[in-house]
């Protein structure tokens, strides 16, 4: 029984704390994050497919005293798979990459993704030298991941096996300049 994506997002970000910055990927993970309620420390992506993990890297390097969680989908991660190699070299201790893996491209009509045919993103992350790589397939493992997100000490990669369903879209703000400005204000770096 795979996990339900909205409930999984809620578990991961329950009591997220002031210092957790979240970058979701283009598509469903952005809607999942928005469904929890808006937050200035979310940088929603309406584009830039394949870029979520690298935005997380730049942010984590710039804000070493805060935690950064990239929470993206398998299709988005596959497009930026090389960034796992890049992150494997940098390894900031405050960065977590969490992939909601449902084996399909939900936004475009549920076409199968590579992971459904056996491409193993955990094995990729591990081969790239990322310190902690977790396979999250049940509630207990999800709660463990949520706890680890609160006390990040080394770069973490997690695959969360979620069901291929499509809950109602919750659309956040989509003005990119406003998303950027309010995020920077929340982090205290603006102007």
């Amino acid at each position: 029984m795979r996990l339900e994506r909205r409930a999984a997002m809620a578990t991961l970000l329950a009591d997220r704390g002031d210092d957790l910055l979240v970058v979701p990927g283009l598509g469903s993970t952005t809607w999942d994050l928005a469904a929890l309620g808006d937050d200035d420390r979310n940088f929603y992506l309406w584009g830039a497919m394949g870029g979520a993990a690298m935005i997380g890297l730049g942010l984590a390097l710039a804000q070493p005293k805060r935690r950064v969680a990239v929470i993206t989908g398998d299709g988005e991660m596959l497009m930026g798979m090389g960034s796992l190699a890049t992150i494997g070299i940098q390894r900031p201790g405050n960065l977590a990459i969490v992939v909601f893996d449902n084996g399909v491209y939900g936004e475009t009509g549920m076409q199968p993704s590579h992971t459904q045919s056996g491409v193993d993103l955990i094995a990729v992350a591990r081969a790239c030298g990322i310190g902690t790589c977790l396979d999250v397939g049940d509630e207990a493992a999800l709660r463990d991941l949520a706890a680890r997100l609160k006390t990040l000490r080394e770069t973490l990669f997690a695959r969360v096996l979620i069901a291929a369903d499509e809950p109602p879209r919750v659309l956040p703000l989509r003005d990119g300049v406003e998303l950027k400005d309010r995020f920077r204000t929340a982090v205290g770096v603006k102007p």
Partner: protein, 173 residues
Amino acid sequence: MSAPTNWPDRLFATLKRADIRQVGYVPDAGHARLIDRCRADSQIRDVVLTTEEEGVALAAGAWLGGERAALLMQSSGLGNCVNMLSLARTCRFPLLMLITMRGEWEEFNPWQVPMGSIVDPVLKLCEAEVYRVTKPDEVEGAAERAVQHVFGDERIAAVLLSQQLIGKKVWTK
């Protein structure tokens, strides 16, 4: 007046004055000296990329966290960035690109020509300000103007470093 071969040091000095803290790059012979200088600097995080588009996203993340980044590439790398530049354009992220040109002067490899020949129009279509330099003495001034445009106004700019600066690639040793 700077010596003909020290323009990478002048570029490095510009990056330092601009307080650049993250430098993304795909290894490139034309940028070899600048990459070495960045790698040797304890205040700069050098981030070797698998493809240049990663650097566009890196720079956006850096800015979200209050740091300035620069992206080093050769002309072929611009082609790898095109969709990711939407991130910089839509959100007005500052993006400073230092691009060594191939395929335009004394080029032995014809495979470099198709991308090299469209760098300028592609950048302009992507709303980037373009500063092209062919002489060593022009490098620093162009880079300073690009820095001002990028970080002063949260815009995209590219300094195009002509193949004439870098010299002809030696194919047989």
